[in-house]
């Protein structure tokens, strides 16, 4: 009743090509932005402490949404499976650290973006095998990237400036007289920065996937031979997907260390994290931007809440809750794949379709 296309005619193709052709969608996005920019900073999430909301929920969810967007570009839009996401986040984090120590006065946001570019290049290099191999073989190739990079993060001491600890850590960084990163930075400041980057990156991603380049990825994904015969150059299409995806993943890695954790060592980038990000994409929905948000939020928040509620409200052991949340993730994956392989995003779409008809089912 309230959500429908009828009556909203487009007189120009340009209007139809806009990000949100439906007025209701525009309103919805505006409301979400207001919530994110105004309500959460002002009121937090009811019932949760502000520090917890920021540090354990909002900031990591936003960062992982960027990761998920990146992986979704590769897996959901270009159809190339990667289990190297964790390590590529590491590339972002370590290169950001190196850039920060080599140019201490450089603005940290620029550092983050540069580290995304470095990751894009590394991603392209490790994407090269995809030209020759596909499917399960590519999984193994990306695992090779994962394990090689993990090794490099340990063995190449230059990457962590020969620290005794072998890890990287952020220091206080200022921007416009405000400490934006490092131990003394305010959670709210970091929240706004991460949120703004997320909004920006979402907008860019949605632009690219609706245009020529995004279509070439989807062509490769849906039927690579036909794509090639129509004129898509596999080299360009696959490598640009690897690069663009790695750009996002690299940025999220840098953000994770310098706007959330504060420090990291190699295990923050290990293969288990790669699985977690894969889960975010699958549960959220392959090839869906909305899904990336849903997947990251769900996969991150549910275990945190399971642990927190289990501990404080029911007095369960941390041990039991940990195992319970591992099982929950596994079950969630299997159930989603069975019920709707396109994830929560498709379920949401179906709900929207129904909303168009609501309250009259015909």
């Amino acid at each position: 009743m309230f959500y429908r296309e009828t009556g909203q005619f487009k007189s120009k193709y340009k209007e139809e090509l806009a990000a949100f052709p439906l007025a209701e969608d525009k309103v919805g996005i505006a409301i979400l932005l207001v919530i994110a920019y105004v309500f959460i900073p002002l009121f937090g999430i009811p019932g949760l402490s502000f520090e917890f909301t920021m540090g354990a929920i909002m900031i990591p969810v936003f960062i992982f949404t960027i990761t998920t967007l990146g992986l979704n570009i590769l897996l959901g839009f270009a159809g190339q499976i990667s289990l190297g996401t964790g390590a590529f986040m590491g590339v972002g984090a370590y290169s950001c650290y190196k850039i920060m120590t080599i140019f201490p006065d450089l603005n940290i946001i620029i550092c983050v973006i540069l580290s995304g570019l470095v990751t894009a290049i590394v991603g392209m290099i490790f994407g090269l095998p995809s030209l020759k191999i596909k499917g399960f073989y590519l999984i193994v190739a990306t695992l090779a990237a994962q394990f090689f990079l993990e090794w490099a993060f340990i063995r190449v001491a230059w990457l962590y400036n020969y620290n005794d600890s072998g890890g990287i850590e952020g220091t206080n960084k200022e921007m416009f007289g405000l400490i934006v990163s490092g131990p003394q930075s305010d959670a709210l400041t970091r929240y706004f920065i991460v949120l703004t980057l997320l909004v920006l990156l979402t907008w860019l991603a949605s632009n690219v996937i609706r245009g020529r380049i995004g279509r070439s990825w989807m062509m490769i994904r849906d039927m690579d031979i036909a794509a090639e015969l129509i004129g898509v150059r596999p080299l360009t299409a696959k490598l640009s997907a690897f690069a663009f995806s790695s750009f996002y993943i690299g940025i999220s890695g840098a953000l994770m260390v310098f706007f959330w954790l504060g420090a990291a060592e190699v295990e923050s980038f290990d293969v288990n994290h790669s699985f977690t990000y894969l889960f975010m994409v699958i549960i959220g929905g392959l090839g869906s931007i909305t899904g990336s948000y849903m997947g990251a939020a769900l996969v991150w928040v549910i275990p945190v809440l399971i642990k927190e509620i289990g501990k404080t409200a029911f007095g369960f052991d941390a041990f039991v809750m940990e195992n319970f949340s591992i099982i929950f993730l596994g079950v969630a994956i299997v159930v989603i794949l069975i019920v709707e392989p396109h994830g929560l995003a498709r379920l949401w779409q179906i709900t929207k379709q129904k909303l168009r008809l609501w309250p009259f089912p015909y």
Partner: protein, 430 residues
């Protein structure tokens, strides 16, 4: 539909509000444990000893200074990132002191401690340089640091036929923890005239060490020192036996010499050495009390055989230091409900001397721990224990660290650590 939605929101709201319920009159001591993951065997024992001690205090004495202690576990799986999440989840909850139980986690939260004003006690792990109290007001290394320990171990080897001209193999878990003592080896190698063979074991290869031991066989070191943890330890001992490396020339650090590492191997591990700073066995009144008040009645996850085991006792000792610091803090401030900042003072003024240890029911359990503002390490002595095929037996007296070697290294490392950190909080001690 709408009703359902409102219902759901309300249910969630109730759940949330229960999360944030805070309890008055309680001393919150979080403990980052790992009962899952590849290091679970060790983590479980540590966690049990730690938790049981506080449960015992609650049962026997009604807590500390009349306030019950809430020793709350946060499961990390020995993952640094999860550890940070645990840390974040305690913000604003008036946690008194953090126990990361992992060097990796310590390194990541070290910078945050001054901002949150909650001290970190890394008992026998963590960043060695944290021993410098002036540079690291919020971090404590009691009773001694990795670097001190390494010098003690080298002293022991020196006493067993000398180091000059020898080749020392250093087999270590390739994470922050395992790499910690490398600077000491690099410093002392030329000075004492030994050569070091570094054999890193990646976390993934922990249970697949045959090539590491072939390398050791190829290079023929006279001694092998191990900085191992979790499943790495038993695998290493087994491989050592397999390659016919003499086990009485194979010495683990204090995290590589526990019952869980050797028990399954039994007589195969006979002769293997390890350092320690806590005594095994249950012949201490404090441990007897824990068995009586907590373990026997089934008040915790501890099984009857666990108390007295190396890591159980060590986990308990970690709790003893914290309990003592809280008590000191209560006395110094006159408050019952102390804060993290108070406990930091308590830690600096801790005085676990022979007399106090006896009072606590731990006579002869360990070397005394005397805190101070400048020295957050205490430079404690260790002893060496040996596996006799069925139990760990202490075979040496206390071996002090080479303070003259370690102190300058610590100072330099502390300076290096803060050199690139603007706005780092330090303190002046007099």
């Amino acid at each position: 539909m709408k009703k359902l939605f409102i219902g759901a929101v309300m249910a969630l709201g109730t759940a949330f509000s229960s999360v944030s319920l805070s309890f008055a009159d309680e001393l919150l001591v979080p403990n980052m444990t790992y009962r899952v993951g590849p290091y679970a065997a060790n983590g479980t024992m540590m966690a049990n000893g730690f938790t049981d001690y506080f449960l015992m205090l609650n049962e026997r004495d009604g807590g500390i200074g009349g306030v019950k202690v809430k020793a709350e576990e946060c499961e990390t799986g020995y993952k640094a990132q999860v550890g940070v999440e645990c840390y974040e989840s305690y913000r604003g909850k008036n946690a008194l002191v953090h126990t990361p139980n992992s060097t990796g986690i310590t390194l990541q939260i070290l910078q945050k401690a001054p901002e949150d004003e909650v001290p970190i006690l890394t008992m026998g792990y963590g960043l060695s340089a944290a021993a410098k109290g002036e540079t690291f007001p919020w971090a404590f290394n009691y009773p001694t640091s990795y670097w001190s320990q390494m010098t003690s171990i080298l002293s022991y080897i020196e006493s067993q036929g000398g180091l000059k001209g020898k080749k020392i193999g250093f087999l270590y878990l390739d994470v922050g923890y395992g790499r910690e003592p490398i600077p000491v080896l690099e410093e002392l190698g030329p000075k004492m005239g030994f050569e070091t063979l570094y054999v890193p074991v990646a976390g993934k290869e922990m249970q697949n060490q045959s090539s590491h031991w072939l390398t050791i066989r190829k290079e023929k070191p006279d001694w092998v020192i191990m900085w191992g943890w979790g499943a790495m330890n038993p695998t290493a001992i087994k491989e050592a036996a397999k390659t016919r490396f003499p086990l009485d020339r194979f010495i683990g650090n204090w995290w590589s010499g526990a019952h869980v590492d050797t028990q399954a191997l039994g007589s195969k591990a006979k002769g293997y050495l390890a350092s320690s700073f806590t005594t095994t066995g249950t012949d201490f009144p404090a441990i007897q009390d824990m068995i009586k008040y907590v373990v026997k009645p089934g008040g915790s996850k501890t099984e009857m055989g666990m108390p007295g085991k190396v890591l159980y006792n060590r986990g308990m000792f970690n709790a003893v230091i914290i309990a003592e610091a809280i008590e000191v803090a209560q006395k110094m401030t006159g408050k019952k409900n102390v804060t993290g900042a108070d406990v930091r003072l308590g830690l600096e003024n801790i005085k676990l001397d022979e007399a106090r240890l006896k009072e606590l029911g731990l006579e002869g359990f360990t070397a005394p721990v005397i805190g101070s503002c400048a020295d957050h390490e205490n430079g404690g002595s260790i002893f060496v224990q040996q596996w006799d095929g069925s139990d760990w037996k202490r075979i040496t007296g206390l071996i002090p660290p080479m303070t003259d070697v370690v102190q300058p290294l610590l100072t330099a490392a502390a300076e290096k650590y803060v050199s690139d950190k603007s706005g780092w909080t330090t303190q002046k001690c007099n």
